[in-house]
Amino acid sequence: MGNESNGRTLPPGDAPINAPIDTPIDALAAALERRRRGDQDIVAVDVPGVQWVVFTLSGRAFAFPGAQVAEILPLPPIYFVPGCPPALEGVIDVRGNICSVLRLGDLLDSPHGPPTRRTAILRGRAADMESGLRVDAVDDVLEVAPEALLPPPGNLPERLQGLVTGVFEHRGQLVMALDMERLFRSWRDARL
């Protein structure tokens, strides 16, 4: 009885099974392997997509990278601290810790609407800085492929220049992508 490999009967003393053999059978295996690699490549395109937290201020859509948003909180009681600029609304209790709350709309020249059930606090972290950011509503948390993120337009309002890192489209609306670290540094250095 001879050895069988992939349906081909090998006579005794034939070449070892693991030797390279150029046959139509091997071509199929190679094609399948290429397909598998190809499938992996397709999957790999999705993996580097960056997660974004999309929110609105005065009906305008903005987003922060998900990596810079520690959590999304429903609007809690905000406690006033004297001596702060108006854009610093106060502090909140986050499981016994104290977190400042900035009115993001004031920082971006997009006045806040009245508080609603959708009003939220994004607790942001960047470069060893942390603060809550008040937003009118959180719309979505989604992944955006790098190629879908376009450069910021040249006609941005002055206040947004340097804070917007790009734009992408979501549900037919242009979303301005922000960088939390730039925002925090600008606030800390009194440039906002």
């Binding site: 406690y79 004297p82 610093l88 060893d128 942390e130 603060s131 606030w187």
Partner: protein, 136 residues
């Protein structure tokens, strides 16, 4: 964990505090020449929790110890001494501290079981202005 003794008082809707060790005396006699804590912190009248209306309590006079002398300041009742665990006391959040215009604010604390207005703003007596000359 060490507990911290504070003397807590009000100014309109704000709950303010100083370390108990810095309080020399509490007087009921009012001195119209003594500045109020609102004056020292340059607080606008009525500044407090937005949307919260509180009735100002009767005024009392606190004598506070400062390195260069004594400070007499008007505050509002209730004036109470509380002992808080150190874990309830927090440094100022960095982005708040970076833009704070008042030098006398040192820390913040939550007092459990008090709602609303559970936040206590802890003041540094040494940074409050308007010092009186040392006693001869």
């Amino acid at each position: 964990m060490t507990d911290i003794n504070l003397v807590v008082f009000r100014w309109n809707a704000l709950r303010l505090a100083v370390q108990a060790s810095q309080v020399l005396a509490l007087e009921s006699t009012l001195d119209p020449d003594a500045p109020s804590i609102g004056d020292l912190l340059e607080l606008p009248i009525g500044e407090g929790l937005p949307g919260v209306v509180t009735r100002a309590g009767p005024a009392r006079l606190l004598r506070l110890a400062q390195p260069a002398g004594m400070l007499r300041v008007r505050v509002q009742e209730p004036v109470v001494q509380v002992r808080l665990p150190a874990t309830a006391i927090h440094p100022l959040p960095p982005l708040l501290a970076a833009r704070l215009r008042l030098p006398g604010i040192r820390a913040l604390a939550w007092q459990q079981g008090e709602e609303p207005g559970a936040l206590i703003v802890i003041l540094d007596v040494g940074d409050l202005a308007c010092k009186e000359p040392p006693a001869a």
